[in-house]
Symmetry: C2
Subunit: 158 residues, 2 copies
């Protein structure tokens, strides 16, 4: 595993960075794919949304139980999207605004500046839409309806 | 990066393995999370669907342009979900049937037997549903409406 690019946003510190793209509707940024991989971007323009896989490189180690930003109780890490995981891979669905050669202009970007990119996949409704899915603890989390809690609260520092 | 578990299914060879979970509605299998990580599974039971991240360990190398199983034309690898990618990470949304300690019973599993697991994330409609998303080349791919093409065609051997 090695970076194929870098994600550039206006979020320079973990604190205040949106915790999900759905909390970052107005956040714009750029995905730079390194020139050697640029040919792999052909045909991405047809997709309105992309899945980004990236490294949570600003945290260290992991906890098997963690209190999510939106909740007040510890949860198993695999029932959360928290960054401190055994393999620190982040996944976010973002909106593609356009491509300029090896640069992608992106909206709904909840990612901290200079994050190493691992992969880009198209978001495909046939594969990825699960309208019947239920939300587990998130359905009743105290932070779910409070936008002030849709951001990193700074507990892991920078 | 290291495996946190292993995915067990009835698909022993690449050929004929479904290429997406939406083409594997009847396929059942098990995700075994290694005992040292089992505590991280608390609270997953509340979610109907999970996102699995895993290693495409039966393929080698990558191509920046590849002809998808469902299509007849080469596409940029980042506009496909093809396995031979610069970082060979697979991502699939699956349906959770239940948990037995460190074992997850899974449906809609499009993954080959003994695949190394990297991460489990909850599928969260607030974060992951994009009902407005468009499908790029897949919208018009000749294989989209032909279930015979929703499987590995064996071109990469085993």
């Amino acid at each position: 595993m090695r970076p194929i690019g870098v994600i550039r946003t206006d979020f320079r510190e973990m604190k205040e960075t949106p915790i999900q793209s759905s909390a970052a509707k107005d956040a714009r940024g750029t995905v730079e794919v390194f020139a050697e991989f640029a040919d792999g971007l052909s045909d991405v323009e047809g997709f309105s949304h992309l899945i980004l896989l990236y490294v949570f490189d600003r945290t260290q180690g992991f906890e098997l139980r963690t209190t999510p930003y939106m909740d007040d109780h510890p949860r198993g890490v695999f029932a959360t999207r928290a960054p401190r995981r055994p393999n620190p891979i982040g996944m976010t669905v973002v909106r593609l605004l356009g491509r300029r050669r090896n640069l992608l202009d992106i909206a709904e970007l909840d990612i901290i500046d200079r994050t190493p990119l691992l992969d880009i996949k198209p978001y495909v409704p046939d594969f990825d839409l699960r309208t019947e899915a239920t939300s587990g603890w998130i359905a009743h989390a105290p932070g779910r309806s409070d936008p002030r809690r849709w951001k990193d609260d700074g507990r892991f520092g920078e």
